[in-house]
Amino acid sequence: MQPLLVKTFTTTTALGRGIAETLSALRAQRCGLQARSWETVDIPTCLGEVDDLDAMTMRADMQDFDCRNNRLAQLALEQDGFMQSVQAAAERYGRKRIGVFLGSSTSGILSSEQAYRQRDPVSGALPACHSYQHTHNMFSVADFVRHYADLQGPAYVVSTACSSSAKVFGIAQRMIGCGLIDAAVVGGVDSLCLTTIYGFNSLQLVSSRPCMPFDAQRGGISIGEGAAFILLERADQAQTDDILLSGVGESSDAHHMSSPHPEGLGARLAMQAALDMAGLPPESIGYINLHGTATPSNDAAEDLGVTAVFGTTTPCSSTKGHTGHTLGASGAVEAVICAIALRHGFVPGGVGTRTVDPSLHCNYLLANQELAITHALSNSFGFGGSNCSLLFSRKRA
């Protein structure tokens, strides 16, 4: 597969809006997780909340799509000149030649959660204002972005739990490779909702403190919300220092619905497939952004997978201690963090982790390092045994 150009990208999470705020939070090793009340949640947990979504308004012609998830999408689209770049691309390639492929695990389900609390006591009907199609349905966020940016190419949502918005990079790469489109808006959006908070709690996977990836004391995830968008284009005209998507590796665990393969076998297959596509040896990778959810079994399985492919020296960290686990958005959020690391020549140390679990053997960074890396790998693994690893490279002269 041909590499793709990653020139324009943005992310909005609990760390801030856009690249500059994200970069400064990463440089300061700031944790965006807070123990504060949200909606009607009554369990002790820390959340990575994006500020001011409740007060936001949707663009006038997009009111039908109004829900927390699409508000977050709109907020993120308006950072870093992303919309202007998409419009320039639309003029360059034509609106029918740009696809929209986004990942989400829960879309705007919060709207239905709230509507179910407001059912008519006699008929059981939902409030008349509830728009299922434009908020809760899984396609809603891609439908919203396609209309918001007035794009007319193919579109769909990938929903494979926490690998969703990593896998969209592969979709864009294949569709551009087949010649059906010239560019794609890819990314992921997932926002806070009761389904994931109470659902992960039912599996006893939610930490009451800010999450501690790869720490011996790790006690589960902290749920965050986030959005990230990337404009992917053909790389024929790539210049020195441009960032490229150079590899995508996908696999299935075929093991269990909610637990990873204990030896990290599926993870290993995905990482190796990304290296194979890029034609790179493991030792060329300068940084691995781990899935690193901070549950005991996920981190242990990923560590086995990483060390089997890369050994124990490649610098690694999870940024879920910064942002929380943004679930279906995490693949795209962490792809953007890899792009930031490549562009700015530094790799982020994990936050929240005090002592790396001595039974884990990858080179887990607790402090930032100034390091002019050329290749960075991002891991995303989801329920149902869905694995995806992305490889990003900085074009050298």
Binding site: G124, M138, Q152, T160, A161, I171, R174, E250, S258
Partner: protein
């Protein structure tokens, strides 16, 4: 204009009155013989009993359609990648979670939660078949089938490997049923390959088009096509049933459909 050619090695179909491809192909070849009847699904014997008990109708439907198509070819399921698509996944399960979350006791069962992921059917399929090949799970609201066909064709062109496509939808219970408007289940599967083989039924050549989508010739099958996203596949399934060379258009997104040339 970019075209993508794929080969159909198997077809699966379960819907009310369409009981597996062997039955459905006869009905679709003579559409006036269609009779609506309650959905009948075969048992899923490839999963352990403990896993089978956890399955709702949506996953059973997806797996039944998938096996129906895959068993028409000698392909090794452990080596087969998959594309699953559904407008909303397991709607019964989603409704149960929403009811629990609206109650004073918000406890959700862990099984309900992991079955709530959109890729639950894909996850159970990979466990049942032991396939560690890539699998993706899509939603495009009313455009699921077109999305899945486009994605499967792009995968086959990129990796030259066969791919099993499964598109399935089930109705929500009330109150969401009124809003989502899917009246009954429909599950379709296509086993697609990069080259012709001994089991190939026909080739499909796909391209994007703005031409309007084709309708079904009888009112009840046309209602099915219009009401259930996965049933947008019906004009293609009718063509596969008759095996005559033809050009057809499948509905995808508003203003963007899929043109298909079928060659036996």
């Amino acid at each position: 204009m970019t075209t993508l050619q794929v080969f159909v090695d198997g077809v699966g179909l379960y819907a009310p009155g369409l009981d597996g491809w062997a039955h459905a192909r006869v009905v679709l070849a003579a559409p006036q013989t269609y009779l609506a009847a309650p959905l009948q699904l075969p048992g899923i014997d490839s999963l352990p009993a403990a896993e089978r008990r956890r399955l709702g109708i949506a996953v059973k439907l997806a797996m039944a359609a998938g096996y129906d198509a895959a068993r028409q070819s000698p392909i090794d399921l452990q080596q087969l990648g998959t594309v699953f698509a559904s407008s909303a996944g397991d709607c019964d399960n989603c409704h149960q979670i929403l009811e629990s979350l609206a109650s004073s006791d918000r406890a959700i069962s862990p099984t309900r939660f992991h079955n709530a992921v959109h890729n639950a059917a894909a996850g159970y399929w990979s466990i049942a078949t032991g396939s560690q090949q890539p699998s993706t799970s899509l939603s495009a609201h009313d455009a699921d089938f077109g999305a899945a066909l486009l994605e499967a064709a792009c995968q086959i062109h990129s990796n030259a490997q066969p791919c099993l496509l499964v598109a399935f939808d089930t109705p929500y219970p009330q109150p969401l049923r009124t809003l989502s408007s899917i009246p009954h289940p429909f599950g379709v599967a296509l086993l697609l390959a990069p080259q012709r083989s001994a089991t190939t039924l026909c080739s499909l050549t796909l391209s994007l088009t703005q031409e309007p989508a084709h309708a079904m010739p009888t009112p009840d099958l046309e209602a099915m096509r219009r009401n259930v996203p996965a049933a947008r596949a019906l004009p293609l399934l009718s063509a596969l049933a008759t095996q005559q060379p033809q050009d057809l258009v499948i509905e995808y997104l508003p203003g963007l459909n899929l043109a298909i040339t079928l060659q036996p």
